[in-house]
Structure formats: C-alpha cells, structure tokens
C-alpha cells in the first residue's frame, strides 16, 4: 500500500525541491502514485493501459516540472491537467472501451480481506464504467483525488453549480447501479 496523498502545500514544496533533489522527487512519486494510477485505472479498459499511462504521466511530469511555478491552483490540479491530456491522447489512439477485467487480474494466495477489497473494487469499476464520462470524472475527482467542488469546476471547465448538480446525479446513478447489482 502506498503513502496517502499529502496536503497541497507540502506537495507544492516537494515539487519545487524535486527540480534539484532526487530524494524529493522520490517522495513526490510515493505520494502521487496511487491516486494517479487509480484515476487512470477507472478511466481505461485494461490495467496494463493504466500502468502505461501512469508511467507516461510521471515522465511528462518530470519534463513539465522545470517550468512549474507554485500558484493558487492546487498541485494536484496541475497534475490532473497532464493526466487528462494523456487520457485524451489515449482515447484518440485506441478508440475502444473493453469490458473490465479486474476480477481476472486478482493474484492468487492473498489474504481474505484483500480479496474482498479487490472484489469491491471490481464492482465499483463496473458500476463506474456504466456511467457517462462526466459522471465518472466528477466521482473520481471528488472522491478519489479529493478535489473541492471549486477545484473540480476549474478542472472540468464548468460552473460550481453545474459540478454540484453533476455530483448529485452521478451519486444517484451510481447508487441505482450498485443497488441493482446487489439485488
């Protein structure tokens, strides 16, 4: 299990130090890795694709880090821009959405608790995949990456009220799908 996502101020400091210090870059990587991977995992059809995109993301981040200037915008929002651009490129190249293969990816010999967790994720994955792209994005940005409504609105280039409405409807749709599956 990776490290939890650090607060925004610390992430910004790490990003500035990471321009020169290898250690700071390693810390930044540890903090970001799970969130970024998870974001890609739910937005593409195969885990391998998510891995490739994660790798591409960090390479791009190194290139862009030289020109990074800390501002009022959260560091994760800056990362999110890179991730979104990569996703768009990926969608353009593949143009396909495969059914999820999460359960088949489960490794053998894991603890019962871990297997249960993986099963939960597989169900979530399936439910998320049935939602529209906007609903998926708002759920991932709000509940996976932890952005506020205002930040989510900036990233999605929508108004705050529109994001609130999207969030409400996405949760409703998700509840409906999960309820149907449990039945």
């Amino acid at each position: 299990m990776g490290k939890p996502l650090l607060p925004d101020e610390e992430l910004k400091k790490l990003a500035i130090r990471a321009k020169r210090e290898k250690k700071a870059l390693a810390e930044l990587f540890d903090s970001l890795f799970d969130s970024i991977y998870s974001f890609f995992f739910y937005r593409v059809s195969k885990p391998e694709e998510a891995e490739d995109l994660t790798q591409a993301f960090f390479l791009k981040m190194i290139e862009a880090l030289g020109g990074y200037r800390p501002s009022e915008v959260p560091f994760m929002a800056w990362c999110q821009k890179i991730a979104r651009n990569l996703l768009i490129d990926h969608y353009r190249q593949t143009k396909t959405f495969y059914p999820p293969e999460v359960i088949s990816q489960l490794p053998n010999g894991r603890a019962q608790k871990e297997i249960e967790l993986e099963e939960k994720r597989a169900v979530l994955y399936k439910a998320l995949k049935t939602l529209s792209v906007d609903y998926q994005e708002v759920i991932l940005l709000r509940f996976l990456l932890g952005f506020s409504v205002k930040e989510t609105a900036e990233i999605m280039e929508r108004s705050v009220n529109a994001v609130k409405l999207l969030q409400f409807r996405a949760l409703k749709a998700m509840r409906k799908i999960l309820g149907e599956e449990s039945e």
Partner: protein, 236 residues
Amino acid sequence: MNEINKVHQLNEYLKKLEEDKLGLEEVTDQEIVSLLKLAIYLKENLRVCPSPRFRQRIKEDLLVAWQRKRLNQYRRLARIIILAAAFFFLLSGLAIATWRSQPGSLLYPLKRFLQKADGFLKRKSFQPIPANRGKKQREEMGKGKKEQKKKEKKKRKGKIRKKRRQIFPPVKKKIQPVHSRQRKSHSRGNRGFVREREGEFIHTGTDGAAFRTDKVPIKTTNKNFGLKKSENQVTP
C-alpha cells in the same frame, strides 16, 4: 424538497463530512443519507493499489529519466558556455587583426570602414542640440560671412589697385602755376580759381568761367593746398 435544494444540501453535508463535523444521524432526508453513505464508501474503496513490483519499476524508471534530464541540462549549459567562449575569442582575434591590418590586406577595407563609421559617429552634429543653438549659430555665421565678404572685397580692390599702379605708374601732379591757386569762392561758396592776367585778378568757378575781376590780389591763407611754401606764394 426539490432537486436543487437537495443538491445544495448534499454539498453542505459533504463539506461537513470532510471536516468531520457531521454525524449521519443528524440528517433527516433518507435519500441524502444514502448518497452520503455511498460517498463515504467510494472514498474508502476507490483507491487502487498496483503491484509493488510495478511501483518499484516505475519509480526506478522515473529516477533514471530525472538523472538523464539533469545531465542533459548540464551538457546544454556547458555547450552554451563553450560556444560563447569560442565566439568571444574569435571576435576579439578578428578585432585585433583588423586593427593591425595594413593597406593591401583582406581586413584593411573593414578597418577603413570602421574608422569612417567611428568618425561619423563622433561628429559634432550628433551631439545634442541646445535650445536656440541654431538661431545663434546662424547669426554668428551671418556676421562672419559679412565680415569675410568685406575683407575679400578690400583685398580684391587692393590687388586691382596694385596692378593698375604696376601698369599705369602714378604721374606726379602738375604743380599749379605760381599765380594760380585754389581758394574758396566768395560768392558761390564753391571752389574756384584766381588767375592773373594783365594786372587784373580774374575769379573763375570750377568750370573756368570768370565771374569777377579784381585789381587787388586776394589775401593768402595759412592753408597750404598741397603745394610747397615757395610755390604757394602769389606773385604780385
């Protein structure tokens, strides 16, 4: 409760949940409670952890890429410094060679051009012009010109006179006859002559016409009309 109110309410509750200021028991609306529960569930379970091996591999790749990038930055910097130094030496060498060049060498035209350009740039006309400078200068120049013209005219006249004297040397003035002399005319105020003829003194004007005759000679004055004393004496 309509949808818009629920949207805002849900958002408020989510905010409070993030700050740990809300218990689900406080919420009365069952729909919102179920949505809040789903949100908590998503927060806890959405995060996916890839295999540690994959994590390690990506991390190593990242650090290698970072090192390579830093190295490239240093290389680029070193290249720029070397190029700048080479350019500086080349330019200074060229400048020295140009300065020492002699007529006939390849760089001599460049040297001449630079000298001309230098002279052009050092011209006074490039200096800032003070207020009223033009007017004053023009006035000074005008004065100077007039004086110069006068001088030139004088010189020219002097030369002409010299030449004339060379060609036509000055003839000595004829000495007036002893009995004839210049004097002021009594009647007209003009200069006239007095001539003696047969014991009478004839007064004539400048045109030579006689206008009076006297038997008594006129008084001589102290003025010497360019004649010697002996010559100025009037014979009775």
